[in-house]
Each structure stands twice: as structure tokens, then as C-alpha cells.
């Protein structure tokens, strides 16, 4: 056996199992989901009928779906804010200040807490009558706020939780990007007389462009897929005020036995993410 065939054989045998696993757990379910979106399967019984594109037509004709998607926009805007805050912290914490590792750790900490625990914690914090935030407000003479019961506020409360939770993660990504920039570039810029602001605009930002791109992609897809907070804390309520696209999808199956419709919604979401990411690339990064 020649060296080349040996190499090929080795490559194939090493790749076979991971590829099989990927096919079994990622690709097969994905195509199966796509297939089921053209049926009226209830998610449980073995028999179902093909309904063509009926599910897709219905997704676009159901107003509640788009109300849910509008709520997702709040999560996306919130994600943009999250990136700005994270960038700010990243800049501050790359400078040599006392105890910066402590600050880094404490900002990152929420990311590693279990999301259900976070949800329960905030349910308590946001509580109307017993919550500490409202207790402080009342003692200051301010009317208590219905963080989770006011239809206009609930989405911001929930999006605020994910802001608090993911800022640390975004920050760490930015800090890592900063460290990948060659310090000699800064030195030579300093010799040429560049200030801190000029350094940031002309050296740092172009240097971390790929990470900004990644973070914005994560923000977009994360915002569109937001569901943990409303799922655990409000169940999409009050009324439908905090329903998100994914939560609506889950309820279509669990509450109303409509797997086919839910599958169609999942496919629509995928297409949405693809389109929006493409637009984002074209508009902000002018493509490459």
C-alpha cells in the first residue's frame, strides 16, 4: 500500500464516524423537519396527510406569528446595545487597571449560570408585590412597575435579562480579538502621533472586524431564536405580549398538536436568518 492510499484510508476512517453522527443527528433531522412541514402531522399519531404548502401559507396569514416576530425585533435591538456595552467593557478592561480580572470574571459569570436558575431569579426580582426592585421603588415613593405584567414593558424586562446574561460572553470575544492585534502597530502609530481615539478607529476596529461580524450574526440569530426567558418566566403572556417566534412554534406543537405547522415555522425562521444575515453582510460589511 502506497503512502498516499494509506493517508486516504486513514482520513476516511477517522472522518467516517463523525460524519455519520453528523448526518444522523444534524442532517437527517433537518431534512425530516423540512419534509414534515408539508404535512398535517399532529406530532404523535403515526398517520398524516400531505397538505402541500398550506402550512407555509398559514404562517404568513396568521397575525399572531408576526406579532411574535415583532417581539423578536426588541431582542435584536437589545443585542445591538449589548454589543456596544460589551465593546466598551472590553476596551476598559484591556487597559491595565487594578483588579481587572475580577471585573472580567464578574461580568462573564452570568453566562455560566443555568438559564432556568436565571429565569427563576428574575421572576423574583421582577415580582410586582414581593420583588426587591419594586420594594426600592415604593420606598422612594415611585409607583411599582409591572415588569412582567405590563404589556408594553414585559419584552424589555425579558430582553434585559438576556442583555445581562450575554454581555460577558460578547466582551470576552472582543477582548480576545484585541489581543490578536499586533502591539507593534500601536507603537508605530504612537510614534506617528496618533491619539487613543484614532488608535481605536483606525487600528482596533478594522482589526476586530471579523469578530464584530461574528457577534452581530450571533446577535441576529440569537434575537430571532430568543425563547428561554419568555418560556420559563411568562409563557408568552400576559395575553401574547411576550410571545416570540420560537415560543409560538413550540406552543403550536405542545399545546395545539400541530407539528406540521410548527415545522413550517421553523423552516421560515431558518430562511429569515439566512436572508437577514445576507442583508447585514451586504449593508454593513459591503461583502467580501
Amino acid at each position: 500500500m502506497s503512502y498516499k492510499t494509506q493517508k486516504k484510508l486513514l482520513l476516511i476512517s477517522f472522518l467516517l464516524i463523525p460524519l455519520l453522527l453528523m448526518g444522523l443527528f444534524f442532517l437527517f433531522p433537518f431534512f425530516r423537519l423540512f419534509y414534515m412541514s408539508f404535512t398535517d402531522w399532529d406530532g404523535i399519531m403515526p398517520d398524516y396527510n400531505f397538505t402541500g404548502i398550506d402550512n407555509y401559507v398559514e404562517v404568513f396569514q396568521t397575525p399572531d406569528v408576526w406579532v411574535a416576530l415583532r417581539n423578536n425585533v426588541i431582542y435584536i435591538l437589545n443585542g445591538v446595545l449589548q454589543n456596544i456595552i460589551a465593546l466598551l467593557f472590553a476596551v476598559l478592561l484591556t487597559v491595565k487597571i487594578r483588579g481587572r480580572n475580577f471585573y472580567k470574571a464578574s461580568i462573564f459569570l452570568p453566562f455560566i449560570i443555568n438559564s432556568a436558575a436565571i429565569a427563576f431569579m428574575f421572576t423574583f426580582l421582577f415580582d410586582f408585590e414581593r420583588g426587591p426592585i419594586n420594594a426600592v421603588l415604593t420606598s422612594l415613593g415611585v409607583e411599582p412597575v409591572g415588569f412582567l405584567s405590563n404589556l408594553k414593558i414585559v419584552n424589555f424586562s425579558l430582553a434585559g435579562i438576556s442583555l445581562w446574561r450575554y454581555t460577558g460572553y460578547t466582551m470576552i470575544l472582543y477582548i480576545a480579538a484585541f489581543q490578536s492585534i499586533n502591539p507593534e502597530v500601536y507603537e508605530s502609530a504612537m510614534i506617528d502621533g496618533a491619539g487613543t481615539w484614532q488608535n481605536f478607529i483606525y487600528i482596533t476596529l478594522p482589526g476586530i472586524k471579523t469578530i464584530v461580524e461574528l457577534n452581530l450574526f450571533l446577535t441576529l440569530s440569537g434575537g430571532l431564536q430568543a425563547f428561554v426567558e419568555p418560556f420559563i418566566i411568562t409563557k408568552g403572556g400576559p395575553v401574547n405580549a411576550s410571545n416570540t417566534f420560537v415560543l409560538y412554534t413550540i406552543n403550536a406543537f405542545t399545546q395545539f398538536n400541530r407539528y406540521g405547522f410548527a415545522a413550517a415555522m421553523a423552516v421560515v425562521l431558518l430562511v429569515l436568518v439566512l436572508i437577514l444575515t445576507a442583508i447585514q453582510k451586504k449593508l454593513i460589511f459591503k461583502g467580501d
Binding site: F128, G146, G237, A266
Partner: protein
Amino acid sequence: MLKKITSLFLIAAIAGTISVGCGKDNNASISTTQEAAVTAAAGGSSDEKTNPEDAAGEITFSSNRTDLQNTLLPQFVADFNKEFPNIKVNIETIKDYQAAIKVKMSSNDLPDVWTVHNGYYTKDQLTKYNIPLDDYEFAKDFLYSEVFSGSDRKIYALPQGASATGVVYNKKIFSELGITVPQTLDEMISAGKKITASGRTGLATAAKAGWPLQYYWLDIANTIAGDGNYRNTLAENEAPFTVDSPMGKAFGLLKAFKEAGILEKDPLSSDWEPIKKDFRDGKVGMFILGPWFIPQALDPLTIDDVGFFPLPYDNEKTPKKVSAGPDVALGMAQNTKNKAATEAFFKFMMDTNYASVGKSLGLLTARKSVAVDIPFAKEFESYSPRKLDVVSDTKAYTDIMNKAQVDYNKLAQEVLVSGDIQKAFDQLNTKWKKAMGK
């Protein structure tokens, strides 16, 4: 670019896996369920043959009552083990119970004995996944068993008890404030106002949890209509929701309570567990629920501090109608690997030990020949309520409900938010008509 597209697809595929995971071995399950159906049909009438010494093994008993995981449920099992020491019963309580059960159904992995809630599973599903109970002698003794019949009209679950909708109230608060049990709606509202004025909650809703609002559209609408079959008649009408309809009047009651200011300070912030604790601590006067709530409402309150009266939904001084129907039921799964042990436990819960289980759960009896002795049941009967039997939902009705994705609890929340019943109903009528059209 190609790389990025692949990575996007991967991410999408991961997202896909989450929602598809529950259904992917669908094809595999067809054959196994059919086999199970055959064995179940063949051995269906063998219930007299179970012998305590023979029955051994391990089974799972599943319930939505997470609050009883370490209290009552193990006690039932301990009592059971006195008779059947060789059977190990694993107790499994699940928080989001009905959704979890549907996933278990689709993967053919139902617990051996499981709690069945009326209205959450279709008749086809019950027929496919549960063991028919018609051949068991004691099954004939049950009221409301028709509610749990399958598409082949056989019975697939039996109620652990009967329930009726009424007002659970704190007798201590009533006597402290000199309130008598209200017989009309006005009396009820003024009682609520008195309790609220004393710094407590007059009438609790737990509106954040959503489901405690179900009594308004389920049972109260039925009693106002005077027809246990009321909801099914909705399926015959293209625009059945009007403010004057029983459903509209039921939501009107909720609106009236809200406007009278007798509900929680902010009902939509009020969740089930906290308000339950408030009730126990004597901070809540009344709560529209079933008698099953009373055992949960005790400590520090005692059984004598809590009463139960029919809801006065109008201002006539006549005995009130109340909706009566089955409480949760138990069923046996066809996919059980240990039928003898499953049957033994089922029989123990539903037959031999029925009265004591019902008493500790605070349920009225759903059996013709077995009485359950609970004090508040006597009080309730003393108001001579006219009982209205609940009829199970027809397929025509549930089909429209699922198609239009109607969630009445959210509708009730909307009434609490805006107070505009007509507007909420207009949207609902549009959905309803569209769902009927297809």
C-alpha cells in the same frame, strides 16, 4: 463564502434537531404500537388472574403534582407495597406535564400508570396509547368515565375523583369581618370589597399562571348557559362569540370583579405558587377553583377554616348551578413492559384504596358505590347546588380549537388588561370562521 453557507446550515440543522428530536423515530414506533395493541387486546380480560405473589418488577407512575413528589405520592406507594412488596413503583412528577407526556407518546415511552387530564389528548391518542378498561369489573362503577373514552368508544382512563367548580373561601376571614356566604353576585362583590378593604386579596385569580382562569370559560360559561355541552355547540356557529353569549357573560364576570377592585393588586403578576401561599397565610379571602385546592390550602389553615360554596353568577336568590365533572384520571399505557404489576397498582389506586386516595387528595367521589368523607363537601351540598355534568369536547370542536390555536386563558388575560371583551371576541370570531372554512 461556501464555508459560511455550510456553517449557517449547520447552525440551522442544530436548531432543527431541537424541534424534530421528538418525532424522528415515528416510523419505528408504528410497528411496535400495533404489536402492543394486539397483545393488549388479547390479554385485556385477564384482570382476575393477577396474584399478589406473582406480580413483581418495576413500574413508573407519573403525575403532574410536583408538590406531592415527596409527600402523598410516596405514601400511596408505601401503602401499595404493604400488599405487593415485590413491585417497585417509581414516582415521576413533571412540571410542564401535558407537553412532556405528548413527547413521551410520540416516542412510545409513556409511563406505565399515568395521569390523564381531560381535554389535553385526542380520542385517537387515548385509543392508540392506553389500555382499554371496559373489561375490568370496577370500571363500571365510575361516573364520568365516558369523558375519557377513545375513538372506539371504549374507556381509556378513570377519574380519581369528581370535581365541581365553586368558590373556596377562608372561613376565618369571613367570620372576622362578619361576612355571610354570598348568595348573589352583588353580595359576592361586596364581600370581596370588605376583604380587600382589610388589606387582603378579596378574590384571587393567579392570572399570570393562566390556567386558574380556565374556570371562567370552562365551567362558569357552562353554568350560565345551563348546558354541559355548551362548548361543543360553538363548533356549529361561524361567529359564536358575542358579549351576550354565555362565554361573553362569563368573561363579563371577570371584568366586573376587576372593575370592583376585588382582585389582586396586579392580577397579571399573580402566579399560582405565591398566591397559594398567601391563601394559606390567610391573606386571600376567596378563590374560584375546585375542591381539589382545599388540601393544598391547609397549614397553617386547618380543614375547618376552609369552606366551599357555589359561585353566585347572577343576582337571583335561587340555588346555583355548578359544573360537575371528573377530576384528573389515571390510565395504563399499552407500552407497559410489566402488565401484571401495572394492573395491580392501577387497581390499588382506583379500586381497593380509592376512598383513602380520594380523601387525601381532597376529591369528591367519582364512584357510585364508594363514598369519600370530606367536610367541605357536606357544606357545598348544603347549598343544594344543581349539578350540571360536563360533556367531553367533540372532535369537531377540538379540531377548530387547534386549527385556530385558541387559548381562552390568554383571552381572559386580555379581558383583565383591556376590559374590552368585544374587541377580543371580534379577533377570535375571525380566527374561528377561518378555521371552520378549511
